[in-house]
Structures are given as structure tokens and as C-alpha cells.
Symmetry: C2
Subunit: 350 residues, 2 copies
């Protein structure tokens, strides 16, 4: 391109250096990059994405698709801000930029993505909030766009994924309550058609079976994935004909509303109702009694996701990683003997 | 371009229709768009961003710069997920796409943005978390890139902005406490160099002056913009030689930690310490007693931001909008007479 040649001559730099500076490569010192960008600006030269993509056939940009509006199972706090920070750290070291492609709650998730793919703005995509049947995955496979998913899906195909260990979390949550002699344990899962709902319930049922507890479908409760959903869950639990003495939560923020509702009704968490939450975060750390739940190093997950993208761009399609989450004990678990006076005797349904 | 001509002939559609379909314009029906994209895919034609940008000189994409890592003053909950959802709604109706450009906590915010600008991936930018002196603003003005800011800055220049009314919120927060006869009122603001900190403190001082209360710099407290920062703030308040009887908060999530710390110390919010928070959200709604704070329709703010971008792209640079936030009463305010037995008598410093 003439533009670059002219700039290089003017600045007394090699074309390669000017090109690297314009492309934002890390192997150009900051002072030189600044000189090149200033000269390019002064000359009215705008080395836009377009020319680069046409020359190189790639954009050096990775897109992460983020559901906006209603919160997903990990959207209740600063999960994504922390995740993206560390993911970007890994990508930027490889000269890649990260952009987020918001996907509107009211929109069609496939057509938005289809347009982004057609426009060729990214080299690779990361999908989040995977659905059990995920038409986005089918579309991307068909179009041959490299992608990985944070979350699994039952939509078939060879694509790398990384997912939290929802099955083991659910199973261990049940085990922790069963160890305290709880016999009637409910599971609360988000209402949305997210794949993790099925995975979590599978673990819940395995946990019950492992402790010889009967599976009662009436104890698999759907709630809105929000603080308010947790409050409504509390009301449901209190009005059930055979109230469970313990509940395991597949969405972290539900604990906030559940604690509040129980306090309003004069019930004590850990005595009248035992609770195992999903994941600790900055807000849940202030609940009293402390919430038994699982720990996640969000930054480490973000770095793993960044590495997953690098592997993907290197051609690996077969990586699958279940992210372990250690249990974090808390005062929200106690023996069921102390169940509230209105509650039926524990184990009544067994 | 031959590609489009060939496709149009093959599909028996006009070149204009094929072009509109490839460009994701809303005035093509879904079935036709699908046919065009499938044919384009089959023909190996990838109408990428590059060709389009070179032809039209613009990308139809708006970038919003989002600080990742440490949370900003509005990052503590799903603020951005809700904001972006409605902003995108407005932009998409105008045929524009929204992408988020994450800005790493550890990185240099100017150089990241500079690279994005140099690559020409967006037509316009929205900056958030504006600093008092914001080098990003100076850089964008110099390069002539259209942008607007969510938040003001003291960096001079003609650019549109939209900001929450931090000054009036602080002023009214003080007034609400002064109306209950509080004489010693502290303000807690984030430690970061955000412009809103200055704006909030200006309102705080005006509020004190309006009620004839002395300004004591020792009552302007800096805290980490987090739940944990609120907890530490509680400790500070309890150990101050002349403890204030009320506090106004410039960061919403501080209330979570502050409530928790006070409860741990056996203090009752609204009796031993009166609190006015910044903004209600899904979590704060479950605090007890209810938090006096301000209401924000985040969706409406997102739509206004989308409209601001459209105005900007239409050439308007002079729009400035302070977003009003109505007061929301709560049980966290009470008269200072009931201050804890350890606290010095109210008004001791007056």
C-alpha cells in the first residue's frame, strides 16, 4: 500500500515497523508507535480494519457473545468484568483484541450472530449462556467459524468447551445436607432453557440416589434467576405441603432473596432451613449466617478461556474442560431437627 | 463488486437487495436474508467488514469502552447488562451494531483505545468511568473520532455527555439527614480518580452549607468501591474520635458491607447510624432496614445513550444531559438521638 510506503519514508522507518505499529503489534516500542500513529493521522491515513482484514484474511479480534437484559446464571455480579479482564490479558499477549458482542434479551440470538459472522469482524467467537439445544452452535458449525463455548450444550458437533462443574456441585450440595441427616432436599434451578439446568439436576438426582433418598419431582423448583426469584422461592418453600428442610441453589444470587424472605418470616437459615448456594461472590460474603457454597477463581477461569481461544486458533477443536469448584463450608447448613414449628416432621415423605 | 453481482444473478434478486441482506439491514425480510447469506456462504463469498468499510467509509458499529477488573461506581451489579440491552435496542433500529471494548484494569487505557481507533473498527465511541482528567478524551478529540461520554470530565473540549446527577444526589442526601437533625454527616466516596467523586463532594459541601453545617474534611472518607470497602468504612466510622451520626454513600454496593459490619458490631442502621445510599438495585432491595437512596431506570438511561449516539453520528457535538434520579425513602434514616451508647453526643463538633 502506498500509504504505508509514504509514511515509512517520511518517518525514516522500515515499512515493516510502520505496519507493525499501525497493526498495534506489541513488538514496537511505545514511542515509535506514537510517532507512526501521529504521522498517519496527520497524513489523513486511516489504516482501518478493512484494509488489514483484506490483506491478512484475519482481524486479530476475538468476539465474546454476552446476553444482556435478564441476567444469566453468572451475571448477577461482576463475574463477567473479572472474567474478561483476565481473558483479555492472555489474548493481548498473543496480539489479539477482545470485543464483546451483546445479544439482546428481546432479539433473535442467531440472526445477530449471523450478521456478525457475515461481516467478518472476528477471527473466533466465544459463546456463553449455552442453551440445551443451541441453534447458535449449529449455525457456527455450518458456517465453519471457529468458536468455543463457556458452558456445554446437547447440540452435537466437534467444538471446544469449558464449563463449571455443575453436576458435581449439585451432587456435593446434596451430600453435605444428607450428611446432616436431611431427608427432604429441594433443588432450585433457573427457569431459562440453559444447559446447566439439566446438568445441575442430573447431579442433584445422583446425589439423592447416592444417599438412598427418594426422587420427588415436586422438589425440583424453577425460579427466576435473580434475587427476587430467591425471595419467591422462599415463599414457595414455606407454603409447600411437605416442606423440605434443605435446598440447593443452581443460581448464586437466589440466596440474597431467600435469606431476606426467611428473615421476614421469622425463620433462621441453618436452623429452620439449610441452604447450599452455588458460588461465593463479593455480596454473598456478607450474608449472615455465612453461605455454604463453592469457590471460583474467576480470574483463573478467564485466563483458561483466553488460552482456550489460542488453542482454538491453533486448530484444536477437541478440548473439553470441566472446571472444578471446591466446597466452602458455611453456617447455612445445620441439622434438620431445628426445623420451624410449622414445618412437618423431617423425613415425613420417606 | 463482482461477488455481489454474481450472487444477485444467481438468486434472481437485485444487487441492492443482496447488498442490504449482506449488510444486515433491517429492510430485507428474514427469509431473503437467509437465502442470500446461504448462497454467499456456498459461493465462498465472505462479505467481510473490510470491503464494506472501504466502500462506505464506515462500519455501522458503535463501540462502548468498559473498564474490566476492579468494579467502577456502577459496575457492582447488572447495571451494564441492562444498560447495553436497551442501548442496543435503539441502535439496532437505526441499523447500527454495538460492540463492547473491554479496557483492562492493568493496561494503559489510552493505548488500547488508540489501537482500536487506528484499526477503524467503529464509527463512534462511548466512554464510561470518566476520569477527572481523562487522557482518552484528549486523544479522541485530537484524532477527530466521534464519541460521547457516560460521565463528565474536566478535560476540555466539545463533546456530548450524559451523566447521572451526582451533585444533586449528594446535596439531597445531606438535606434528608439534616432534616432529621443530624449535624455530623460523613461522605464516603470511591478511592479511584473518577470525575464523579469531585462532583459528588461538591454536592455534599453545598448540602452542608445550605443547612448551616460546618465542613470538616475529616468527614470526607475514601473507600474501595466495593462491598468490602463498605465494611471497612463501617469500621472507620465506629472508631472515629467524633463519630458522625449519618453517612452518605457515593457508591451503591458499599451499603452491603456497611450494613453487615454495623450488624456485627451490634449497631442498628437507622438508629445508631443513618445512611443514604446512591442507587437502588436488585440486591439492595433486600437490605433491612430498607435503604434510603435514589432510583434509576437503567433501561431508560440505556435508550437515552443510544439516542445520544444517533445524535452524535448526525453531527451534534453539543448535547449535555444530567440525568435526574428521584429520592427513594427508606428505614435507614432516623433521628440521631438514638445513637449508640459508645458514640459521642451528636453535634459535639458544631
Amino acid at each position: 500500500m502506498t500509504g504505508i510506503r509514504t509514511l515509512a519514508r517520511q518517518l525514516d522507518l522500515s515499512i515493516g515497523t510502520v505496519s507493525r505499529a499501525l497493526n498495534g503489534r506489541p513488538d514496537v516500542n511505545a514511542r515509535t508507535r506514537e510517532r507512526v500513529l501521529e504521522a498517519a493521522q496527520a497524513a489523513g491515513y486511516r489504516p482501518n480494519q478493512s484494509g488489514r482484514a483484506l490483506r491478512k484474511g484475519r482481524t486479530s479480534t476475538v468476539g465474546l457473545v454476552l446476553d444482556t437484559g435478564e441476567t444469566g446464571p453468572m451475571g448477577g455480579d461482576t463475574f463477567f468484568l473479572l472474567l474478561l479482564d483476565q481473558m483479555q490479558e492472555v489474548l493481548s499477549q498473543a496480539g489479539l483484541d477482545l470485543v464483546l458482542l451483546p445479544s439482546r434479551s428481546g432479539g433473535d440470538p442467531v440472526s445477530v450472530l449471523e450478521r456478525q459472522v457475515a461481516r467478518g469482524v472476528v477471527d473466533a467467537l466465544v459463546l456463553t449462556a449455552t442453551r440445551r439445544e443451541d441453534p447458535r452452535i449449529a449455525m457456527l458449525l455450518e458456517r465453519g467459524v471457529p468458536f468455543l463455548t463457556l458452558g456445554r450444550s446437547e447440540t452435537p458437533g466437534l467444538y471446544p468447551w469449558l464449563d463449571l462443574d455443575f453436576e458435581r456441585m449439585a451432587q456435593e450440595s446434596v451430600a453435605r445436607l444428607a450428611a446432616e441427616e436431611h431427608r427432604r432436599i429441594a433443588a432450585a434451578v433457573p427457569q431459562r432453557d440453559l444447559n446447566l439446568v439439566e446438568v445441575y439436576l442430573r447431579g442433584y438426582r445422583k446425589g439423592l440416589a447416592a444417599h438412598g433418598l427418594p426422587h420427588d419431582p415436586a422438589l425440583e423448583l424453577r425460579a427466576c434467576a435473580s434475587e427476587n426469584g430467591g425471595s419467591k422461592l422462599g415463599k414457595t418453600l414455606l407454603t409447600m405441603p411437605q416442606a423440605p428442610t434443605g435446598v440447593v441453589l443452581a443460581y448464586e444470587q437466589m440466596a440474597v432473596g431467600l435469606y431476606s424472605r426467611m428473615a421476614q418470616e421469622g425463620r433462621v437459615i441453618g436452623r429452620d432451613l439449610s441452604v447450599v448456594g452455588l458460588r461465593d461472590n463479593a455480596q454473598l460474603g456478607f450474608l449472615s449466617p455465612s453461605l455454604a457454597c463453592f469457590s471460583l477463581d474467576v480470574g483463573a477461569l478467564g485466563r483458561a478461556l483466553g488460552q482456550g481461544v489460542l488453542d482454538l486458533l491453533a486448530g484444536r477443536r477437541d478440548t473439553a474442560q470441566v472446571w472444578p469448584m471446591p466446597f466452602h463450608p458455611g453456617g447455612s447448613i445445620g441439622p434438620p431437627e431445628g426445623a420451624g414449628p410449622d414445618a412437618p416432621p423431617p423425613g415425613g415423605a420417606v
